[in-house]
């Protein structure tokens, strides 16, 4: 099991354990993390699972692919480290991953 921490805009943080192979979005939904809507169910088609990957983890999660970048155009307040978390697959390398939930999804 891999640990992932979600930090809400108000600073509240929740650490969940997730199975490798799931996506960070799926881990969020399974654990009822607030602010991750994932309207399209993980098809990289809606930009409502937008998160900010903590700076220390950006090398490990990698960059958004082209299609994801296109979808990020539909997200609000996109920053350095913005990702759609349905596109981040959980592996051992991400044990301890920290992501921040934005103030608003669209």
């Amino acid at each position: 099991m891999t640990k992932i921490t979600f930090i809400q805009p108000d600073g509240e943080s929740q650490t969940v354990e997730a199975e490798n192979g799931l996506t960070v979005m799926e881990a969020a939904k399974l654990n009822d993390i607030a602010g991750i809507e994932a309207e399209c169910g993980g098809a990289c088609a809606c930009a409502t699972c937008h998160v900010y990957v903590d700076e220390a983890w950006r090398d490990k999660t990698g960059k958004a692919a082209d299609m994801e970048e296109d979808m990020l155009d539909f997200a609000f307040d996109v920053r350095e480290g913005s990702r759609l978390c349905c596109q981040i697959k959980i592996t051992d390398a991400l044990d301890g991953l920290v992501v921040r939930v934005p103030a608003k999804q669209f």
Binding site: E39, C40, A43, A45, C46, A47, E69, D70, M71, L72, D73, F74, F76, D77, V78, K104, F106
Partner: protein, 360 residues
């Protein structure tokens, strides 16, 4: 993909109903041209029930066409893999023998029951229907433009903030700001530049999803200083009484305030239940409650199938919606043909069903 200007579909096979005066009389009125709405045409058609289909999008397919036309679906029986667009195309082919009439770019806004038991429905474009049965196959609801989560944006909508433009002339002389990087944003940049007092295109990055030739044209206008391209994100609105005067834009070098009297945000589409919520149908967490024998709502003659309905054990799967459509059609038959006994038949062996399907 989720842009308001979709790629041109091949519509040659689609019969779009011509405008007519007076209400259109039909056996069934299907709301939603997604996979379940389309397959409902088939199941109803086998039982001699004719359908008109209304959809807010400009082409059939619903979410399959709008959200994931190129993405593979792996759980449609007998099709190990099929894309959203292929599934739509195949369904369109399958229902062709029944000659459904489509009304695209329209949304059913009102529904009421007539004295004779039929339903009167009206679209936002003024098309009126009289239907013996209504099938709500509206999926996640109707696609509506996404509203940027900017404080106070609601009070400017329709006055200074527009999600579509009906008449270019209304934009003449304005300080126009267009936000987005897809085809809608670029098309409107090109169309409105000649009438604008000033036009600023704001996008979060210097890359555009829009068609390359539109991007090229836009870059030329930027070079000529007809259009200003600003890489950044809108963070605030300034104005009073619904009239915008300026926008705050966060850019790499800080926050900039720019003049703006008309803003056009293009952030794609989202799904909203919409007017369906006001038709007196019993809901369960924003979904329409139905029984599992007929998939009928609490209103006799109004059915709901596919993602928009709920019953214990409901799964939002295309295949479940197909099943729901088949059972719905049996119940609809009793309403459309109250005096006819329905003989259960298979398409494999029934010559009368095969005749309807045009099998030679």
């Amino acid at each position: 993909m989720m842009d308001t200007t979709p790629a041109g579909p091949e519509t040659s096979d689609i019969t779009e109903a011509a405008a007519s005066s007076g209400p259109i009389e039909t056996d069934a009125l299907i709301i939603g041209a997604g996979p379940c709405g389309l397959f409902a045409v088939f199941e109803l058609g086998l039982l001699d029930i004719k359908s008109h289909v209304v959809d807010i999008l400009d082409r059939p397919g619903g979410q399959c066409a709008e959200l994931y036309p190129e993405k593979p679906i792996y759980d449609v029986p007998a099709l190990p893999v099929v894309t959203g667009q292929e599934l739509t195309d195949r369904l369109m082919e399958q229902i062709k023998p029944f000659g459904p009439q489509f009304h695209f770019n329209e949304r059913i806004d009102s529904l009421s029951r007539e004295a004779d038991g039929r339903f009167r429905l009206m679209t936002d474009a003024g098309t009126e229907f009289l239907a013996k049965v209504v099938v709500v196959a509206a999926g996640g609801g109707s696609f509506t433009p996404k509203r940027p989560p900017l404080n106070g944006i609601e009070e400017y909508e329709g006055k200074s903030v527009f999600y579509s433009v009906r008449k270019i002339e209304t934009m003449r002389g304005h300080d126009i700001v267009i936000v987005g990087g897809g085809d809608s944003a670029l098309d409107w940049t090109l169309n409105l530049a000649p009438v604008a007092k000033s036009l600023t295109l704001i996008h979060r990055r210097d890359e555009f999803r829009a068609a390359p030739h539109s991007v090229e044209k836009m870059r030329k206008l930027v070079e000529e200083s007809t259009v200003r391209l600003l890489i950044g994100q809108v963070t605030g609105l300034e104005g009073a009484n619904g009239k915008l005067s300026a926008l705050d834009v966060k850019t790499a070098s800080g926050t900039e305030r720019i003049a703006c009297t008309a803003m056009l945000p293009f952030f794609g589409l989202t799904m909203k239940l919409g007017p369906v919520a006001d038709w007196g149908l019993n809901l369960h967490e924003n979904l329409i409650l139905v029984d599992t024998e007929r998939f009928e709502t609490n209103e006799h003659g109004i059915f709901a199938i596919g993602d928009i309905n709920w019953y214990p054990g409901k799964l939002k799967l295309i295949l479940s919606g197909f099943h729901e459509g088949a059972l719905m059609a049996q119940a609809a038959h009793k309403i459309v043909y109250p005096d006819k006994k329905l003989l259960f038949q298979y398409t494999t062996s029934s010559s009368s069903l095969q005749k309807k399907l045009g099998v030679k």
